[in-house]
Symmetry: C3
Subunit: 309 residues, 3 copies
């Protein structure tokens, strides 16, 4: 049995296939238990601190809900402006200080590597909730958990990732984690936003088959699941290029009609207009179920970190 007791959660690569299976199993058990009662008492008396140096709703609230569903408490730094950060305190000192108050820290920070830096200065577990363009491992785990629940299995899947594959840390982490399970991948993006070489070479080394294309329909037709991401206007120097791209990566009813097959659709959210709200009622539209799965995955990680499973 895999043990996460006392461990930090810093990077998608830290998990083996066996680890991920174990985490999914615990998440699934906790999800079932939560159907019987509103909260469990597994972490009664424990306190989690949220240190968010960047705007975020869903990740912070998801952790806070997970901790409360486990019977634990929460304290939060609040906005950076209202904290001692304004007095010039280093991240290391803030982390050392907050470690005196709580039992686990959840950190989001704009600097790549900051979560590791935080973990290095404190004896309590640190969970990386996004460090710049680096990692966001709990997102990758909730994505995997959702894929398994929606498609029934993680074996022999073909998955299309669509949108800004260059800057999206969620697709980077997901691609790496999926490589453990032998998926076939389609990377759908405009040429300027292709999956970085460090990811594709990693996949090649692991002998994971992937296709890079600009054609979302072709990829979707060959896939079990489409993972959409937001394309951000500010990434383009040529706005006409942005308008062209934006228009081509939109899932709406018409697209689904032309697709002529059932497909599962995920999105890390927030979306802007890459998935039309008319799609929300489509049975395969799983992005809000994906949000809920984030609570179960974070409950599983917290429970395992404290050695309660």
């Amino acid at each position: 049995m895999v043990s996460l007791k006392g461990k930090d959660i810093l990077h998608g690569n830290q998990f083996s296939k066996k680890d991920i299976d174990a985490i999914i199993k615990v998440a699934s058990e906790l999800e079932k238990e939560l159907k019987k009662k509103d909260s469990l008492n597994l972490l009664k008396g424990k306190i989690l601190a949220t240190l968010f140096y960047e705007p975020s709703t869903r990740t912070r609230l998801s952790f806070e809900a997970a901790m409360q569903r486990l019977g634990g408490g929460i304290i939060g730094m609040g906005s950076v402006e209202s904290s001692s950060v304004a007095k010039g305190e280093t991240l290391a000192d803030t982390v050392r200080t907050v470690s005196q108050y709580v039992d686990v820290i959840v950190l989001r920070h704009p600097r790549t590597g900051s979560a590791k830096e935080a973990a290095d200065v404190t004896p309590i577990p640190v969970i990386n909730a996004g460090d710049g363009t680096g990692q966001h491992p709990t997102q990758a785990l909730l994505d995997i958990y959702t894929i398994k629940k929606e498609t029934g299995s993680l074996k022999n899947l073909t998955i299309a990732m669509v949108g800004d594959l260059k800057n999206g840390r969620t697709v980077h982490a997901l691609a790496e984690v999926l490589s453990l399970f032998g998926a076939r991948l389609y990377f759908v993006s405009p040429d300027s936003l292709r999956m970085p070489a460090e990811i594709t070479s990693h996949l090649k080394a692991k002998k994971i088959g992937f296709v890079e294309t600009e054609d979302m329909m072709e990829a979707a037709a060959a896939s079990d699941l489409v993972y959409m991401t937001r394309i951000q206007k500010e990434r383009f120097s040529d706005l006409s290029e942005y308008e062209r791209v934006k228009g081509s990566y939109i899932i709406n009813e018409e697209f689904l009609k032309r697709l002529k097959k059932k497909i599962t659709i995920l999105h890390p959210l927030p979306r802007v207009d890459e998935i039309n709200p008319e799609v929300d009622a489509y049975p395969g539209a799983a992005y809000f179920r994906q949000v809920r799965n984030g609570v179960f995955i974070r409950m599983a990680l917290l429970t395992m970190i404290f050695g309660k499973r």
Copy 2:
């Protein structure tokens, strides 16, 4: 017995006289139980989310205190600047997302109709904590509860509403709710800030007697209770008009001396200078008790929404 189980709380008009009597009864019971112990366990394990798109202290804290006194937990979006709203997410998507984390949502939003819009996209109950110039139903209910407690009955009352009757959503909702109980009403305001026609015509249809006047003393002398509201400078194009009006709608010791009768004074707060602090010790000054009643009313609503009464 009235059931609010699983219901949204969106509009003052959604409640019948019977509903209001039932809510007041539950509030009164919970208030008594809270005298014996600091908190009840009725909502243990439930989580409430506060989504406040506008500044507010008292309404948010009142709901948070109510939920905690019932044994439940809270998560909050925090300021709009530090949330995904900054990334252009629609209200509907934020509500759908937060619905995956919690059991009930309390929403304040500047757009009239936003609470209904939120309720339409989520299966969990939504409580309107103020939608623009629209509604603020829990305020109306706590006002009614306070009036009953302070005056002993909701029958045969004469009530004067004073100040900005045009823009004040609390007086609109209160007037409508009072119409269920057959009160007589005085509307005291400068001509430019009179009660809107949609309210007065509603009262006429319900055969509720009301008098519109600019004379606060005349109205107070004929009333059991004065409901004061703040007059906001920015509503006036003519500042000399503002100064005149402001001076005439002030309750202070001198006014009470001239009034020569005991009266109950309410105010939704915050006040600026329409009630002089020297009045705070006056036995009829009930506006801080009114604040406390807000906790009991919100406890009652939450308890009933979850079917625990």
Copy 3:
């Protein structure tokens, strides 16, 4: 036995030596109990409100952690911008209002005397978490608790306070509290940032020996403990004077080597560069343990205020 039941915590001077001994004793007991379990249920059902009108991380989080470790709940005003303060509400009205929701208020406010003002308008206990350049009594108590734990006793100590002694409210309060225990004091600062006359004359009246000097090494060599504070650039009109001073009040490995004796180092934090991080591993570097002691002291105060010890 000293009773703090129902009392406000406003000023370091309100405590006798006996009071402080009693508070330290309770803090020590609670610290031991917390080693056995993550939280106690002493304040279950009680709610604490944090009203912070100035940026702060550590004090607010420390109180929030303390309250949760005792089983109680928390509500917070949040940033001033997102609250009714923006609508021009007075501190007195905000305090009166929040008093309707909770059982104890923790207040930080930029105006000296504000905590007393708050306590005067509410029947519930108010804890001063810093009022301008005035007081911060819980900091003084946690400092004393730390000094006792680190040095073994409060008797016959020699303590050097270093840095900005003019503006630092923590050193003012600590000097006054230490005067109860007969300590010998060194005040190390540039001439422009000397300990104010009101403190030194108080010490003279109490026959407490103290030495004022600019030489940190001399003071440290004669002391059991050095209490460092931050020197703020903005206090100097002459920047070359700032650079000279800043350079001379830095504790680093070289300083400790030259000192040739074991010493205890405290700091109220956040630090900028007056203690080099290379010192953190030094056994006498007690400033992060000091942070943790803040939780125990605040737990003790809260427990005693509610009459549970």
